[in-house]
Amino acid sequence: QKEVEQDPGPLSVPEGAIVSLNCTYSNSAFQYFMWYRQYSRKGPELLMYTYSSGNKEDGRFTAQVDKSSKYISLFIRDSQPSDSATYLCAMVNSGTYKYIFGTGTRLKVLA
């Protein structure tokens, strides 16, 4: 079993839709959770960073962590064609430097 599982997609949605992206993980020691957006041939861009369980909102983006279920989500409201990219989840536990990444979900927002 992989430490982090992420559906590769592609996920196609119409413009304006609410998008839900998810990762599951197996290591209960993970404490810090991140979501990245990566456009083709570019470096990943950090979108959301959360510690432990709960929700965090930033504009159209909401990150949710459920440590009891070992499940994290990224919600995108009012999705735009410019949101079309690959979204990577990542996580790490304190005291280590080894981040574990999902393989990414490709999102296409259709105009």
Binding site: Y32, M34, Y36, R41, K42, G43, P44, E45, L46, Y49, Y51, L88, A90, V92, S94, Y97, K98, Y99, F101, G102, T103, G104
Partner: protein
């Protein structure tokens, strides 16, 4: 603000040739630094990380090596490239005051022919 620079942006090298990729970080001091490789259609593979000058930890025992000659400079090297070394190489660091909030540079796309 903090910025990660990487160069070159693109590189095409023959099998057996040497490699040197450079990463520099601006706007912070004593950062943790990381080298990742992203192969086409695959996830990010951690290659090396460094918590200080001369302190390098290797995650992948291959024909790659890393050095940190200055506080904010991280270099990835190889003496002889293999075809399997092709990929997108990313340097990463963390936000000042936030040891676990990792962000990435623009990357170097390496093609070994």
């Amino acid at each position: 603000s903090q910025t990660i620079h990487q160069w070159p942006a693109t590189l095409v090298q023959p099998v057996g040739s040497p490699l040197s990729l450079e990463c520099t970080v601006e706007g912070t001091s004593n950062p943790n630094l990381y080298w990742y490789r992203q192969a086409a259609g695959r996830g990010l593979q951690l290659l090396f990380y460094s918590v200080g000058i001369g302190q390098i930890s290797s995650e992948v025992p291959q024909n790659l090596s890393a050095s940190r000659p200055q506080d904010r400079q991280f270099i990835l090297s190889s003496k002889k490239l293999l075809l399997s070394d092709s990929g997108f190489y990313l340097c990463a660091s963390h936000r000042a005051g936030s040891k676990y909030e990792q962000y990435f540079g623009p990357g170097t796309r390496l093609t070994v022919t």
